[in-house]
Symmetry: C2
Subunit: 236 residues, 2 copies
């Protein structure tokens, strides 16, 4: 069944009209007919089944036939803060894979050694939406625009805070040994070239615990995905 992302649907809606763009896609591209059924996700846990009442190519009218709330609700909360990669496709790949595996929030950070100074959130968000639909998620991960690392470090976060870096450090422990299950966590992943010593010191000063993600030398986006994988796996 075809799936549409409809963030503006009201929780108790009995009917819904697809946007002009989605209507065109449904009727002109997918050639859906009256009485065909489609699925909707609202990005906030609502998973709807709907029947096409009026197959209008600009204003497709739907009758909601079934609603599931908190569909696929996760038992923990994960925010990964990552420095966008020089090659933006690597970040895009991470966003798609993290959405499939399970993530709540992605925060883009600007670090001292970041080679990329800007990232287009709107385009990146579309990649997340596409992965949401493809993997049948009812929750849409939140993507936060790029901010300086210092700002993120000093912001309040209700949960565990970790920094994954590659500098030698006796005090680094595995994420698995530290993670409180079913809790909330924020994990920092540095840019190509890693965090600077000062950035790490600032993070520790702000209550971030240093962690390692295993012995392999991982690219930025692989480290971010490894963290995502570990948190989801441990919370199963």
């Amino acid at each position: 069944m075809h799936i549409f992302y409809t963030p503006d649907i009201a929780p108790n809606a009995t009917h819904y009209m697809l946007s002009e763009e989605e209507s065109k896609h449904a009727i002109r591209v997918l050639r859906l007919q009256p009485d065909d059924h489609i699925q909707l996700v609202d990005g906030r846990g609502g998973f709807y089944t709907a029947r096409i009442m009026d197959a209008h190519p600009k204003k497709t009218l739907l009758a909601i036939t079934e609603v599931k709330e908190e569909y696929g609700k996760r038992n923990h909360y994960l925010n990964i803060a990552v420095a966008p990669t020089k090659n933006i496709e690597r970040l895009e790949w991470f966003l798609e894979k993290a959405t499939e595996i399970g993530i709540d929030e992605i925060s883009l950070i600007q670090c001292q050694r970041s080679e990329r100074k800007e990232a287009k959130v709107e385009r990146l968000d579309k990649i997340i939406t596409s992965a949401v639909k493809q993997s049948l998620k009812a929750y849409h991960p939140q993507l936060n625009a790029m901010q300086p690392l210092s700002k993120l470090l000093s912001a309040a976060f209700d949960g565990q805070k970790f920094i994954a870096h590659c500098l030698p450090g006796e005090d680094k422990v595995s994420l698995a040994s530290q993670l409180q299950l079913k809790g909330r966590c924020l994990i920092l992943i540095g840019p190509e070239g890693d965090f600077t010593e000062k950035e790490i010191a600032d993070a520790l000063h702000n209550g971030f615990k240093p962690i390692t993600l295993g012995d392999s030398r991982l690219r930025t986006e692989t480290a971010a995905l490894e963290a995502c994988f570990e948190v989801n796996f441990l919370n199963r």
Copy 2:
């Protein structure tokens, strides 16, 4: 330090001559000079440090100054058999990431629902080599050319055999609950559209255990990477 992949180096070599292509890269592109040091990996666990004796742009001569054997040797053996994706870039991503995270062998399989009928092993192997160098691995994963699933199913394999599929099945258990640590395993990942019922039945008949990789609906290459993550994580 720059790293080169030199599969033909003899284990006890005191000297080594870079190939014409690698010599050109070292001298013309990287502009290395006599007495500069580089690193070599042989793909079989040998990790060498070498000094440039003659910076010849076609025949760069090296003196081996240090050898580490069984560098980063893994405590288990993992073979993932995967159907190449329609979009070959998705398979390429998997090969790069699996090499970074840790894998010994990748077997390309042709399934009934495979949309892609061929895959150029030489090109794919170059992607693995590039990831080997980037992530400082001394072992080069082996890539096996595409073969029909039936052939792989009936071939001997000394270790645990699993099939990850998406059909409902009461008997599916998590990989984590079944995996014998520090052992050898072969995991089958199906094409977009999954294995057919007959393929699954044939696999079970040949001693493969059905497993699940969690509750998320994953793309082919994400499922393959999830399996790779799990096996490496559990064997840490």
